[in-house]
Amino acid sequence: MNLLDALELLNRPIAEPVSVREVILECGFTPVYLKTFLAAHLRLCLPKHRIEMRTGLYGDLAGDLERVQLSDRSVVCVVLEWADLDPRLGIRSLGGWRSMDIPDIVDSARRQSERLTHLIRQLADSASVCVCTPTLPLPPIFTTRGDQAHHHECQLREIAASLAASLSSCRRVKFLNLQRLDELSPLGRRFDAKAEITSGSPYSLEHASKVAELLAVLIRDSPPKKGLITDLDDTLWAGILGEVGVQGISWDMAGHAHMHGLYQQFLASLASAGVLLAVASKNDPALVEQALGRTDILLSRDSLFPLEAHWGPKSESVGRILETWNIAAGDVIFIDDSPMEVAEVRAAFPEIGCVEFPKSDYQGIWDLIKELRDCFGKGIVTREDEIRLHSIRAVSPVKNSLQERGLGVEDFLRNSGATVTFCLGTDARDNRAFELINKTNQFNLNGKRFSESEWVSFFRDPTAFLLAASYEDKYGPLGKIAVVMGKITGHKLYVTSWVMSCRAFSRRIEHQCLKYLFEKLDAEEIVFDYEATPRNGPLQDFFTASFGEPPVPALSIRKADFDVKVPALFHQVLEVASV
């Protein structure tokens, strides 16, 4: 994006902004171009939000971080440069570059880095903070030639890396990945000496745009995809199983198929982080089982569920997989080496991300793996991620068995030995609750998402409550799967958000949540901040089925009415201080 495009984009009115995001850009230099580019890239990333931007004072990053005033809509972007660690590392200060000055510069940079680390950590208690560590080349202050790294230069880089390492474990701190920036913005074209001297703005326009683009993506923090459906022949492995047999397919160097091994290894990594993996292959199912049972395969057979191996259309396989996973097509990537199969699935499910596997193209497969990491990447891996596939796999045959035996949901629930564990409180540090609220689509009261600062701010209100529910039955644990939050006024509850994982549908956990709230909080009435969204049909169905009418905004349910209409609940209910 060039500067003219950015300015023209910002001059266009926003069509019906749905909310306001406040972005506080903190840097020690004049952020004139960076601010413009960041606002423009945020307009592209968050087209329905009105972005309000604030910046600090020139040359006093640490002071700005101490003074910053946060609101519950704030996101803070801290863009560090070397001169923020010591002004002598910039070119506007003439404080001396003599060899005897350099150890002092290093010491001073270390102290300043520790101070900034402390300040950023403090900010992260209340707001989401995006941090960019120094991106500009160090000035030529060292006694070695430019092609030889000096000891002090290495120390300065270690200081910046230590700051990142120290803060990277904070949940609300996100670091811009300098490796990605290196790919987009060549180091030699980042620094603009003239702009730095004349206006205190050291970034070239091109570099400012790239830094802003990556910061905007960090701020947007889009939810990751949830599932990947892969083909087998010439995708998960090289060769056509039906033609070359189980021992003829390969994924190693000897078979000139190492990139397929890399793809398997990457899928195993996704599975370990809770991504659902399934197979859609036109193949002989018995042969497929034998192939997946090979001891040298890098992706465990258990990681793949469901496995659709037959000669029917792939779109039908994909439909059944989505039904089993119970997730939306838009949350899934489909990968197949055949352009025809990709086209067929795309026609049937336009929302699925369909990718043609670039077989025989080493670089193409490498680029695909990097692209997939972007699709599925997440900040933290929770216990729920680890057990997700197990819970889906455990319940699926049970449902089929019940249907075959003509038994209904009542029998299933009565015999499932279910336990719902509630945790009622106001703990804003509940990562899983925050994640559920921000990624659940189907059983979602209103689709409302929270920034980190809005989340923290909400629970500062003494009338606020947060109810988290975990579930387990004889088929295994589902982990924390439901969250209700709102405010209490006397005997009346205002539920502002309510979400439940799609894995937990049809177990009457939602009824148990309401029953618990009515009883535990001695409520006579619950008012729901309901709003229809394009994807919250399952929540609408719940209200319609339970209370006889489709939900409406400000829907209210009285305890007396609930007690009459609640179906039989078979769960054992436990309470804990933290789930």
């Binding site: 500067l3 003239k194 703005s201």
Partner: protein, 84 residues
């Protein structure tokens, strides 16, 4: 009106969106209240990128109107367009 002048007007419009086309062509640091140091830096940046020129900081004090910038760009025989 030349294509180059239109491009310059577009640069001005991006920095001073409230100005009409007529006001842009008559714009100067005296006539446009919003022409402060920050917008001056932005205007120079957008012109440098759009016209692929490197404006000498010593020339900046003289480049204080649309007409002055038009003349400057003409004198420097600018015909190219910056890369996107």
């Amino acid at each position: 009106m030349s294509e180059q002048e239109d491009r310059l007007a577009r640069c001005f419009a991006s920095v001073f969106p409230a100005l009409t086309p007529e006001e842009i062509r008559a714009a100067s640091i005296e006539s446009v209240a919003a022409w402060d140091s920050l917008r001056a830096v932005t205007l120079v940046g957008v012109i440098q990128q759009e016209f692929a020129v490197n404006i000498d900081p010593l020339d900046l004090p003289e480049l204080n109107s649309f007409e002055a910038l038009r003349s400057y760009l003409g004198l420097n025989d600018i015909t190219g367009r910056s890369e996107a």
